[in-house]
């Protein structure tokens, strides 16, 4: 859906559902999710519908994903860091 204007000088690598992708220090995890060809963050717990980031500012809760083992994280508010593991959240939380 989205693409970067410039490649980062010092990119970091994060994992999305096991796939390694390049990211730039300072950008949010949601921004990286939106660069995927198949850009989505979660399946809703009610109908298992796909959702992607919508507001990018923490007021819609559609960008929730599991980040480094912590579920239901608002990925638009979390900056990437090297080695971060992001897992899309499908339906209801598992514990």
């Amino acid at each position: 859906m989205f693409r970067k204007l410039h490649e980062s000088d010092a990119p970091v690598a994060i994992e999305i559902d096991g796939k390694t992708v390049s990211a730039e220090v300072g950008e949010s995890v949601a921004a990286v999710l939106l660069r995927e060809a198949d850009a989505w963050a979660r399946l809703t717990p009610v109908t298992q519908s796909r959702r992607a980031p919508y507001c990018m500012m923490g007021v819609c809760f559609d960008c929730l994903a599991e980040v480094d083992g912590k579920p239901s994280v608002q990925t638009c508010l979390v900056p990437v860091c090297d080695g971060m593991r992001v897992t899309r959240q499908c339906g209801k939380r598992r514990i």
Partner: protein
């Protein structure tokens, strides 16, 4: 286990929530008068939304425009002023007196403050229409944040649908960045220029902004397919938006392929923190939203609680800085660091500049009112994104006599999800008003309670007295004296 002492930061004179223009200006001003200030914000760096990621934005000046980069100087001044700054912190409760509970880096914290300034800004108005929950539908603000925060733009030509200064600005920024716009669907209702021209004389006091805005429109009209008087839109697709249907007033439906759709129907104050504290709010009919009642300094109906910036009423970044400054001046008198006549002296010039900034507002409000479709969505439209409750279900509950939004919530689950009505509250109020023939002002809004943002049970439990081990929790066991196994 954490000790209770770790959980409390000693009392401050002023706690500011929000590191946008209002919050930063207030911090700088309060520090001038020697107050002990702490500013907390949920993002990793200062700027709020309008100056999102401004500290890192070098190299994007030519795209984003100079107004954005004014934020850089403000951020520098804020960093240097000596206020405490806690980024990545989500406030989930504010109690009168004041006690602020938040989570920072996964740890709960409790802060105490003599005065509190809420500078949590605004959010885009919820824009429900069929298909708005599909991946590939975002707000214009979201796209602009992606440009600011990640330097990224849409791959495919993007459709923009909405009205207001923000989508015009973004469209111009996108073109500068080499992006492509498939079409700009202007949803401002016909007759808006006639409505707005009444306010034009006042708006001319902000001539510079007016000219800038007209300039954007001119640029766009040359380069972009602009469709005016669009009354409704609909997004369709399986897992992702694939096509867009729109209707022009008096015209047929048009269907176009679409991979990305950006929507915007104005901005509304974030009233959740104010409502949770019991601040009086009133309906602003020019802006079609509730706003907290504040006096000339920004003080709310709750003593020593102030609101500045777009959270008090939509007025833009410059007005936000000025209001933040005014609030800080008044707060400084409240904590005894400034006497009243000095305060009034300082405030005079700020108020003059503020009046000038506010002068354009009535014109903009009249020019860009939200379109009717978002207040009367079709029955199948999802209104509550979190719980996936449709407009039809809400209408049914309203039709059988639910007396207000809280009973609608109880009957339909709308508003019970993590966003706590931020994306559906206004729509529920409007549907109820429409079905029952009442004014939105009288219908009211959801009852907002903490937590303002989700907080884990573990984080909450860490605050309690009843933990295993030798942790001295903060709160005594206050569940009550009854035997916990007693009848229910």
């Amino acid at each position: 286990m954490r000790q209770a002492e770790d959980l409390i930061i000693t009392q401050v004179d002023l706690l500011i929530v929000g590191a946008g223009p209002a919050g930063m200006a207030a911090a700088v001003e309060a520090r001038k008068h020697g107050l002990d200030v702490l500013l907390v914000d949920e993002q990793p760096s200062p700027g709020g939304q309008i100056w999102r990621s401004v500290e890192a934005g070098e190299g994007r000046d030519d795209i984003l425009g100079s107004a954005y980069f004014e934020g850089r100087d403000v951020s520098k001044a804020f960093r240097a002023c000596g206020a405490g700054y806690l980024p990545n912190a989500q406030v989930w409760q504010v109690d009168r007196g004041f006690r602020v509970l938040l989570t920072s880096q996964g740890q709960p914290q409790i802060l105490e403050a003599k005065t509190v300034l809420l500078a949590s800004g605004a959010q885009e108005r919820p824009v429900p229409f069929p298909g708005w929950t599909l991946p590939g539908v975002l707000t214009v603000g979201a796209a602009q944040i992606l440009l600011k925060n990640a330097g990224q733009i849409p791959v495919e030509p993007v459709w923009i649908a909405g009205s207001g200064p923000l989508p015009l600005l973004y469209a111009v920024q996108l073109l500068r960045a080499g992006g492509r716009i498939a079409g700009y669907l202007d949803t401002a209702p016909a007759g808006n220029w006639r409505a707005g021209v009444v306010y034009l004389p006042g708006a001319l006091r902000s001539a510079r902004d007016l000219i800038k805005g007209l300039g954007w429109s001119a640029v766009l009209r040359k380069q972009v397919k602009m469709v005016r008087h669009v009354t409704s839109i609909e997004a369709t697709g399986a897992d992702h938006i694939e096509s867009l249907r729109y209707k022009v007033r008096g015209g047929p439906d048009v269907v176009v392929p679409a991979q990305l759709l950006l929507v915007h129907e104005g901005v509304v104050p974030n009233i959740h923190p104010a409502l949770s504290l019991g601040c009086a709010v009133s309906w602003n009919s020019a802006q079609h939203c509730f706003a907290p009642q504040v006096d000339g300094w920004g003080e709310t109906s709750v003593e020593n609680l102030f609101i500045a910036g777009d959270g008090a009423g939509i007025a833009g970044a410059k007005a936000a800085q000025l209001r933040g400054t005014l609030a800080a001046i008044r707060i400084s008198t409240k904590v005894g660091r400034l006497d009243h006549s000095a305060a009034n002296g300082l405030a005079g010039e700020v108020r003059t500049r503020l009046r000038k900034e506010l002068a354009i507002r009535p014109f903009l409000d009249a020019l860009f009112p939200p379109r009717a479709q978002i207040f009367q969505p079709a029955d199948a439209t999802i209104v509550c994104r979190c719980e996936e409750v449709t407009a039809g279900e809400i209408r049914s509950a309203a039709a059988v006599g639910c007396p207000g939004p809280n009973q609608i919530k109880a009957a339909t689950r709308a508003g019970m999800g993590p966003c706590q009505g931020r994306q559906c509250g206004y729509t529920v109020t409007r549907i109820l008003a429409d079905v029952q023939g009442r004014a939105p002002a009288e219908v009211g809004f959801f009852n907002i309670r903490p937590p303002l943002k989700p907080v884990t049970l573990g984080e909450l439990a860490a605050l309690a007295g009843r933990s295993t081990g030798d942790n001295q929790g903060l709160f005594e066991d206050t569940i009550g004296s009854a035997d916990p196994h007693v009848v229910e």
